[in-house]
Symmetry: C2
């Protein structure tokens, strides 16, 4: 096959000289020396966010297990763990690999795992770290046990409950009990508890609505826990919760650990909800762009688009710019409209924007530039970017 | 700084044993052995699409310069060139690097280029390949010339015209002439012609509307060309057009080259427009996913979401599945609803989906699995993925 491909090429073979693409920034660089588009992290705000959530969890005696799918960056996970996090969540098995390689030793795959390649990789990870996965059906549980036996590995299993998200998860306590019993029966897998995440309620705008939804989820979870207790099945872990409901989740007395992710960064989606006075997180994550064209007195074009920011939760939001808004996001451009010539930035102006949704935005970048004030402290690889299997 | 970071780590250093993530597929694999989520390319359909557009362009004596921002994959560009394409377009300077490394020797950066790091990289590329960039303002043109002089390199420059997209581009023939004169005056940059792309009209649903819009764009371009002729400024290249208007663009007699990209793959966005009988492209690009959970009799959850497919142009579309549709796209899941239990696929079922928008979807994947019928022929790296600077 390779020979056929070569014969098809009607052009010269590549020259020996390779061209390296320089990094977006180097430690010590000033903000205005950073090449754009780039993803930048305000370390002061980020560290304050990490402390705020850690303190909240500890005050209620609940473990914090931050979701690494939000950032996919081992350097960030290590800082969360250094502050007291009990480990991390990942959403995919391959996503966990760079975190295990970086030294993280307790990972919950907060998702169903199916298929030989994924299970074999999981078994290899389980020899280096304490791995737990979720399950909501017997087929997956049986395949999981068989693969762990084959590799002489073992993993914990949480039964996933559907507590209102209408995604994965068992639908009734009877189903949960049957699955827990199967897990307890099969070799090399250990029933560790339940996964109970309700994504939809995290983004409800009103604080009262979120409180009600969190209470409702907690009541549903209690029904499951009562069924386990009645059946004399110990259920040590109840994992769930998120940034939007964290204040209620930790106080609910049902969760043993909270899976929040976005709290460390904040995006326009989460910032748009009513936070009340209970809890406050700062924007720490920004897109840095440059105005590359000003074709008219009211229009400015920025050098970042869908390949640098997710847009399914809306256009990114400009920081500190009155009378200027992002009206369209193309593949590689944001179109800005100014209310007057005075508010239109000139060609070459650097702009900061807050992404609509941080998880898929991190997934577009190979690195994040960590800033201390106006200077670059480090450039961290987003090592799990693109690891979706 | 590094020492401080080390001291913060409260966990063991990584073990020496590294874990490699296996590839999604290997040449010779059957379809059902491919790990998911994956991006797959039906080579028969893809090659037919390449031939269809190449023949169309040649029949009208217009060059085809496919847009590599659509796929970011050198193996694909080499096949387009082998069939007769005049070179490729890239949208960013860094994006061009893997294509130059793979042997592509004629690249148009169909976009404004601004900033020292980008211009220095461009100068280095210009020593290995014929590079052309777009410009719509004197600031960029002067910085471009200065950097090329410094590096003893030279590039071609197209003046970008705004022919209705309301993005970048000069607004009047006078502005275009002034910029062309400046380019001709400055050293190490050569005025090569005009860039005239109208993205918005590509996606208009009705064939008649697209024809009208293409005609209108052509009339506008002619006004610019007349102004150049009157000023005795030769304008050898008129680059523009796209998949949606290609049939009209090639016949318009204004373009010397066509920049289509999606024609090779087709996505639901382009497939949704009325194609008439003039031109037909087949779907060649698919997402491959696996049903990982079937919590209810009408719901199935697939293992791919926003991190594997763009969703700003709508949810991906299922192939060959009656009574089943994708109702939501989460970060790592698609939620499918079936009209009946009979139409709900079981856990483990592989499904093919057509992405809504191919450009940002390619940008999420590290490789594309090239299929000949039901078997893997090759796995091609998407080498320019993430190169947005």
């Amino acid at each position: 096959m390779e020979e056929v491909i070569q014969a098809e090429r009607a052009i010269d073979p590549p020259q020996a000289q390779t061209i390296a693409i320089p990094p977006a920034a180097r430690p010590g660089d000033a903000l205005d020396a950073i090449d754009t588009p780039s993803l930048i992290l305000d370390l002061d705000a980020f560290e304050e966010n990490l402390r705020t959530m850690q303190v909240l969890a500890e005050r209620h005696g609940v473990a914090l297990r931050p979701h690494a799918k939000a950032h996919k960056c081992p350097e960030i996970a290590l800082r969360q763990i250094a502050l007291g996090a009990a480990g991390i969540c990942c959403q995919k098995v391959s996503e966990a690999v760079p975190f295990v390689a970086a030294g993280v030793r307790d990972i919950l795959i907060s998702n169903e795992v199916l298929g030989g390649a994924k299970l074999a990789l999981l078994a290899r990870l389980a020899k280096q770290a304490h791995m737990t996965v979720c399950a909501d059906n017997p087929i997956a549980v049986e395949a999981l046990s068989a693969m762990m036996v084959e590799h002489e590995a073992s993993v914990g299993v949480l039964v996933e409950l559907d507590i209102g998200q209408q995604r994965c998860g068992v639908q009734t306590p009877d189903e949960a009990l049957a699955l827990a019993r199967l897990i307890r029966k099969l070799p090399n897998i250990n029933f560790a508890g339940v996964q109970a995440y309700q994504g939809g309620v995290q983004h409800k705008r009103s604080l009262t609505q979120r409180q009600k939804a969190s209470d409702k989820a907690a009541r549903l979870i209690r029904q499951y826990l009562d069924a386990f207790a009645k059946a004399d099945i110990e259920c040590p872990v109840v994992s769930g919760g998120g940034t939007g409901t964290a204040a209620f989740d930790v106080a609910s007395q049902v969760y043993t650990e909270i899976q929040a992710g976005t709290y460390a960064f904040m995006d326009t989606d989460y910032a748009g909800i009513d936070w009340g006075e209970a809890l406050f997180f700062r924007h720490s994550l920004f897109l840095l762009g440059t105005v590359m064209s000003t074709p008219t007195s009211d229009r400015a074009i920025v050098d970042l688009g869908l390949k640098s920011t997710s847009a399914e939760s809306g256009a990114p939001q400009l920081v500190g710019r009155e009378g200027l808004r992002c009206v369209a996001v193309h593949d590689e451009h944001c179109i800005l409209l100014a209310s007057s010539r005075r508010n239109r930035p000139d060609v070459g102006t650097q702009l900061r924007l807050i992404p609509g949704h941080c998880d898929p935005t991190f997934n577009l970048h190979d690195s994040v530039v960590a800033m201390r004030g106006q200077h670059v402290e480090a450039v961290w690889p987003i090592s799990a970017r693109g690891l979706s299997r």
